[in-house]
């Protein structure tokens, strides 16, 4: 028994989340509807907190399960990010799920299962672990997108997300098959050794690299693999959108760091330029298309594509060493906090008969819901990258390694894009604070738990924007195993 506990203890957080997810389903089946809808979010958050707090204490760093799993500072960082995002996504949801009659237990359980998958990606040392984690993360998110079964927008979101997601997984597996064929192993370390000796001379290496880049590009929503993003984000139930715009993207970057930066690291000089181009195109397309959107949910979907571009710029700068890796981790953390918050602010407005909130529906929102509007404004200012917010610091940390790696033109494109983005983010703030609605004030619902969690995360966005040092030091330590 002791031996068993010792064997499974490194996966303590994953196991706790898995048990919580199962418990959510059982509790839902055994309690009457009203009691269940009150108990489930509490159960979910408690489970996630136990995993978050107990994880570092129980799960010692090291390599486990025949080398398929490694708990290192990188994994611990991403575990924390995913658990925090899951807690946040749980806390903003209950009122919405009640109002729209979305099955609550299924929502919490799918969020939890998806979180386990995301954490598994961060733990992976092997293509097999990575693939299983990636699918465990994505498949629940397809369900999450289609959770409003009687809403045809939700159906469409799920269908498009699923078809392109499955397609990208198939590309990825075929790329993995070629990597295995090249190196005879599925370990990142062995693959790195092989590609270091063969270089780019081999056509098979180029095919494998291309397939893996395309597959992960789909998951991270990089242009030109982004077409599913706006429809999937707009059609999905808003709390699901909030979760799926951050966790799968963070997980995709964990996968990119593990496979491309540590597994294909020896070829970095060759793929870095491609990634720099991808980054420039991704941020420009995302921002330009976001400019013309009038629906805020769709606008935020395009803006999330632009943010993928900023993170890709940091990935392209791996030549600069650990600061580039730290920039990716810091940006992913900051993006998760502010983007989940921004989507969650739309929950105040998501009343029957509206699709997200059009800009006009936001007129006078600040008078109607002062706290919600303030939080929304903080998230939008942070997404723009204006100090003193975490979004500004994150962009700052990205630009430095991009310059050090010699991509001066990319730093210029990035700065230009940040200015462009200010236009559509701040337009929303102007609508909320300065415009008067034509008729009555917009109808809002303001659940207390939603306001509480938004206030908390908006405060975190500002505090970490002023005092980013300890978080950055942690990101730097976490990037160590990937980019020494």
């Amino acid at each position: 028994m002791n031996e068993l506990l010792q064997t499974i203890s490194p996966l303590f957080p994953e196991l706790v989340v898995a048990v919580t997810a199962s418990a959510v389903i059982v509790v839902d089946a055994s309690l009457p509807r009203e009691r269940a809808s009150a108990a489930l979010p509490v159960l979910t958050v408690v489970g996630l907190l136990v995993a978050l707090v107990g994880g570092p204490a129980v799960s010692a760093q090291g390599t486990y399960f025949g080398g398929y799993v490694r708990v290192d500072e990188f994994a611990v960082f991403f575990r924390t990010v995913f658990l925090l995002l899951a807690i946040f996504a749980t806390m903003v949801a209950p009122a919405y799920l009640d109002r729209k009659r979305v099955p609550a237990a299924e929502y919490y359980a799918t969020v939890l299962f998806s979180t386990i998958g995301a954490m598994t990606i961060a733990l992976s040392t092997d293509l097999i672990t990575l693939f299983v984690g990636l699918e465990l993360m994505t498949i629940p998110v397809y369900v999450l997108a289609g959770m409003q079964r009687h809403d045809r927008f939700s159906n469409e979101a799920a269908l498009k997300y699923f078809l392109l997601g499955a397609f990208s997984s198939a590309l990825l597996v075929y790329g993995f098959a070629w990597l295995f064929g090249l190196s005879g192993s599925t370990r990142y370390a062995d693959i790195a050794r092989t590609v270091a000796s063969t270089g780019m001379s081999d056509a098979a290496t180029i095919v494998a690299l291309g397939l893996v880049t395309a597959g992960l590009g789909f998951k991270a929503a990089a242009v030109p693999f982004h077409q599913w993003t706006p429809d999937a984000y707009e059609g999905a139930p808003t709390p699901a959108t909030a979760f799926m715009s951050v966790a799968p993207k963070a997980a995709a970057f964990a996968a990119i760091l593990r496979v491309l930066v540590s597994g294909m690291g020896p070829l970095a000089a060759d793929w870095a330029t491609v990634f720099a181009l991808l980054a420039a195109v991704t941020m420009s397309v995302g921002n330009v298309v976001a400019l013309v959107q009038t629906n805020t949910k769709r606008m935020l979907a395009y803006s999330s594509i632009a943010h993928t571009g900023y993170v890709l710029a940091a990935v392209a700068a791996t030549g600069a060493g650990a600061p580039a890796g730290a920039a990716v981790l810091f940006y992913v953390f900051a993006y998760g906090l502010m983007n989940l918050g921004a989507f969650a602010c739309l929950l105040y407005l998501d009343i029957e008969g509206t699709r997200g909130a059009t800009l006009d529906e936001l007129d006078g929102f600040a008078r109607r819901e002062p706290l919600g509007a303030l939080a929304f404004a903080v998230f939008l200012v942070s997404l723009t990258g204006i100090p003193p917010t975490i979004g500004f610091v994150a962009k700052f940390f990205v630009i430095q390694p991009v310059l050090d790696a010699g991509f001066t033109w990319l730093a210029v494109v990035l700065a230009f894009n940040a200015v462009l983005a200010a236009f559509y983010y701040l337009r929303v703030v102007v609508h909320m604070y300065m415009y008067e609605p034509e008729g009555a004030l917009p109808p809002v619902v303001s659940p207390r738990l939603l306001s509480f969690s938004l206030a908390l995360s908006a405060a975190a966005v500002v505090v970490l924007g002023i005092l980013p040092d300890s978080l950055y030091a942690w990101a730097l330590a976490a990037a160590g195993p990937i980019l020494p």
Partner: protein, 103 residues
């Protein structure tokens, strides 16, 4: 007489290409799903072939295939459920006709 490794890989490349072409050309959601399965099986074939004939120390590729099976099965389960619930609201599986959102 052993079939050479190249032959297996050639077949897997053909299967994969048919799969990609199908995903890009066909408009029926269920057929697209079948084409994705074809792509996954192309990867399986390549993995098994490399694993048996690649001259590598272990057969980890064959282990990978088992995981791909499991994932493919769960993907089909979720995928068909999504197609079905879309079909209940609006009786079509043509992805060109499912386009309420634009922009």
């Amino acid at each position: 007489m052993a079939v050479p490794l190249g032959a297996f890989i050639a077949v897997s490349a053909v299967l994969f290409s048919i799969g990609i072409a199908g995903v890009l050309v066909r408009r029926n959601a269920v057929v697209i799903l079948m084409c994705v399965e074809l792509m996954l099986n192309a990867a399986n074939l390549a993995l098994v072939a490399f694993s048996r004939r690649g001259g590598f120390p272990d057969e980890r590729g064959s282990v990978f295939v088992v995981f791909v099976f499991v994932v493919a099965a769960s993907e089909v389960a979720v995928g068909l459920a999504i197609v079905l619930s879309a079909y209940r609201n609006r009786p079509t599986v043509d992805v060109d006709e499912i386009h309420a959102m634009k922009g």
